[in-house]
Symmetry: C2
Subunit: 490 residues, 2 copies
């Protein structure tokens, strides 16, 4: 990483003052402090509160940042908007390098907020005396280890207390606190296999914005996937430049959810982060030129990030042509998947002669297999049953043949988990997929069993989806990203 990137102050501070640190556990200032301490933040922590004294969580409270003798890299603000300018003056006096302002009530609230903003611009001499992240944000998170191991640690300044997380390869930059607060915590709890490296709430972007965080993540090899939620572009030209740069970095993908694509969305955005309307034409042009993967909603943003995260972790190459195989126990699912495969610009692989010969043996005479790699496995199971052959053995032979077929880049497998059907699968072998093929699983069935087998696949970086369309859509973005990079990297 380049030395002394401005973001180092915010994601790697050696010492932190929490302005507004409170003894009351339901207050935000208390939660920030609690996060830093309970998650083993390695630097020094100084709670500051003009209206309180004594100790909080074992640390001495100060009335002002000026009472601290040691150096302070970063001040985190959780105090009412009106007192911020004067405390910022103190910070500048104290030579604090960065201010992370979580308080709301600035650009997004109109006149009063804009006046406060003007004051801050003046006090900081246009942000030259101190750099600012926020205001109106949910803080920054950098995860160094997993919460359930001794390695646990990092830098946590969030609106909730982070107690379940894993370090991973995803970096989040967001103008919605959801993606740094409750929603993110919920995702981490429900998808323990999806690790996060950074989660950065940038709020109103008064000074620093997506640009600096993007620069930082592009240079940081621990980040493979960058998930962005933006309500405005701070510097479109620079944004496009950075996204283009990402295409030259093999294991780096940027996914963008843009809020405020419609005029209704822009109206909403104005009262949220104070983002002014951008022409829809312009926004479309920026997204197109940047060549990022676009997500249409929060769910896709997360799911796409998860898919790329797992594929990068698995070390497999992105598929170039989109030639896939669909394996299902239902002909109807086969027909629908064919429509969706066409819709998402993919194609069925034409199976090699070798694979086709094997399938001919395993399918009944009255139902010969296709040449294209859409496999309705029902007839093979019927034949196995009739001939008293192990269904699992037949399934495994087909599975291996498809994975070994040089024409197949990716495999979708519909797995129906139930007492009756699960015996057909060798889940252990399937999840360990040692080939270079990308496998995505569509799993339906009994809830508990689904959760158990999903875990097994996830552990081996094979994503599992609850619906067919999600399975196919997530493969299609891998091909899209591969095409983004083709001609540049190959």
């Amino acid at each position: 990483l380049s030395e002394n990137h401005v973001i180092d102050i915010f994601l790697d501070p050696q010492s932190v003052a929490v302005i507004g640190a409170s003894k009351n556990p339901i207050k935000g200032g208390h939660r920030i402090l609690n996060n830093l301490i309970s998650n083993n933040y390695k630097g020094k922590i100084f709670p500051v509160n003009p209206n309180s004294e004594g100790e909080v969580l074992g640390l001495k409270l100060r009335k002002s940042i000026l009472e601290i003798e040691e150096e302070v890299d970063l001040a985190i603000f959780y105090v009412p908007n009106k007192v911020i300018p004067s405390i910022l003056k103190d910070c500048i006096k104290k030579n604090v390098k960065g201010a992370l302002i979580e308080t709301a009530g600035f650009e997004e609230v109109g006149e009063i907020g804009l006046k406060l903003r003007d004051q801050i611009v003046e006090i900081t001499d246009n942000f030259s005396k101190i750099r600012i992240v926020g205001p109106n944000c949910m803080g920054l998170t950098k995860i160094e280890g997993d919460s359930d191991t001794d390695a646990k640690g990092g830098f946590f300044s969030g609106f909730g207390v982070f107690d379940e997380y894993n370090r991973g390869n995803i970096g989040i930059i967001s103008q919605s606190g959801m993606l740094n607060g409750g929603y993110l915590m919920n995702l981490m709890r429900n998808h323990p296999n999806v690790g996060i490296r950074y989660s950065c709430s940038i709020g109103n972007k008064m000074d620093l914005s997506e640009i600096e965080f993007l620069e930082y993540f592009l240079e940081d090899p621990s980040v493979n996937v960058i998930a962005l939620y933006l309500e405005s572009f701070k510097n479109p030209r620079k944004f496009i430049e950075l996204c283009k740069k990402a295409k030259y970095i093999p294991n780096k993908t940027i996914i963008l959810l843009k809020g405020g694509l419609t005029s209704l969305g822009q109206k909403a955005s104005l009262s949220h982060t104070g983002s002014l309307a951008e022409s829809s034409q312009l926004v479309k042009a920026i997204i197109k030129q940047s060549g990022v993967i676009q997500a249409g909603n929060l769910h896709d943003l997360f799911q796409f990030a998860r898919t790329f995260s797992m594929v990068y972790k698995s070390g497999k190459k992105l598929p170039k042509n989109g030639n896939v195989s669909m394996m299902a126990g239902s002909g109807g699912a086969g027909t629908i998947s064919a429509d969706l495969i066409a819709k998402y610009g993919l194609n069925f692989a034409i199976m090699s002669e070798k694979t086709h010969q094997l399938l001919k043996e395993l399918y009944p005479e009255w139902m010969p297999p296709n040449r294209f790699a859409l496999l309705d496995l029902w007839p093979t199971m019927e034949k196995a049953m009739t001939n008293n052959v192990s269904q699992e053995e037949v399934m495994t032979r087909i599975w291996r043949a498809i994975l070994d077929d040089p024409n197949v880049e990716g495999v979708f497998n519909m797995i129906f988990v139930s007492t009756r059907f699960s015996k057909r699968y060798n889940f252990q072998e399937m999840s360990e997929n040692k080939t270079d093929k990308i496998v995505l699983i569509w799993m339906v069935g009994e809830n508990q069993a689904v959760r158990r087998i999903t875990k097994l696949f996830n552990k081996n970086n094979i994503p599992v989806f609850p619906t067919l369309e999600e399975t196919i859509r997530n493969f299609s973005i891998l091909v899209q990203e591969s095409k983004n990079k083709i001609g540049i990297l190959t």
Copy 2:
């Protein structure tokens, strides 16, 4: 219902012969028998198997249908394709009115199957001597009561044994056995509140097709929602006519998933149900003229059916204009929902003066509420906290005001379920919504709590969705259907 509709033979037979009834519990013929007996089918049941004798599940086995002395309405076939023509001859001799052929290996397998088909056409004198459902299908289901009560009962001929189900207002007609077999059973297990009235697998449609089942469901007042999966249209003109007829029936909605929309899908469909390619232009024209709600995938088909089912059960009117309110605890979710609301052709309601006045009281001065009904509730919760007012009370006042606002037709509520936030909601009151407004819930949070609170809402016919886009999409189809019916019913 019209007297003696041909489908009565199949869904309301007084006596049934199971051809291929087996003592081996893993065989399909055994499962069909088991379904009929264990689910209290009220008619007479005769197991028939030329290769077996003695008793099965307490019933005497016969070698041939001709050995039965009583009348037989319906014969269900679960025997190899090649023996079917000769057994059909026996059925005709015996004056059996209908044959439900589950066996595969006909139109979908090419030459051999087409020959068998020709033989059947000849033997039945073009289906005038006996009517046929199938072949290549998963059977028919008619649910009279819930599986966990004494009322349990109905007619079940499926590929699996039905042991968890509830009677409801949805009728399914499908060319994919998934929707009659495993996938359906899985849906019923995971969504116990979603009741099914009929589930009809029509297979290759050699004789009877979607047309007759559609006619039947349109006349049956116990069916509100008709969910169709088709790979081909047997009679496009008649199909359009019936769908148009549905628009004149207040509590009736047809949802269609068409497999084989693309040429790739048609290739797949040929080997599944033997459906020949239809021009994509023609298919589009049929769907447009019929004015049905179109689903793009299996998940949407089911979810749309569930939404209509609940709205009809609740007795609420379909929304005419699509003027909604979105209540969320996140500004980002608000912006994204605004984009999605625009995408799906909906609009935020402009709140009445009365509602706006109330909100002004509850929002902090630095963050006044919008005039349009997008509510970021975060600032109201902050204000309540600061003033030591009960958050639940504030939330409930807002909730009531929005539901009472005459300009609002529907409400989306993002509920974040967690130890910290759940206390803000009066879930009991919310779920009992006694107004005429349609409420859809987007729920995220801790898995177990989500399941528990979802149950409460579902019990009161309020659908809960795991993602924002699904929530909005499902409201938009209600408006679409209302517009389909407008001018006709109002």
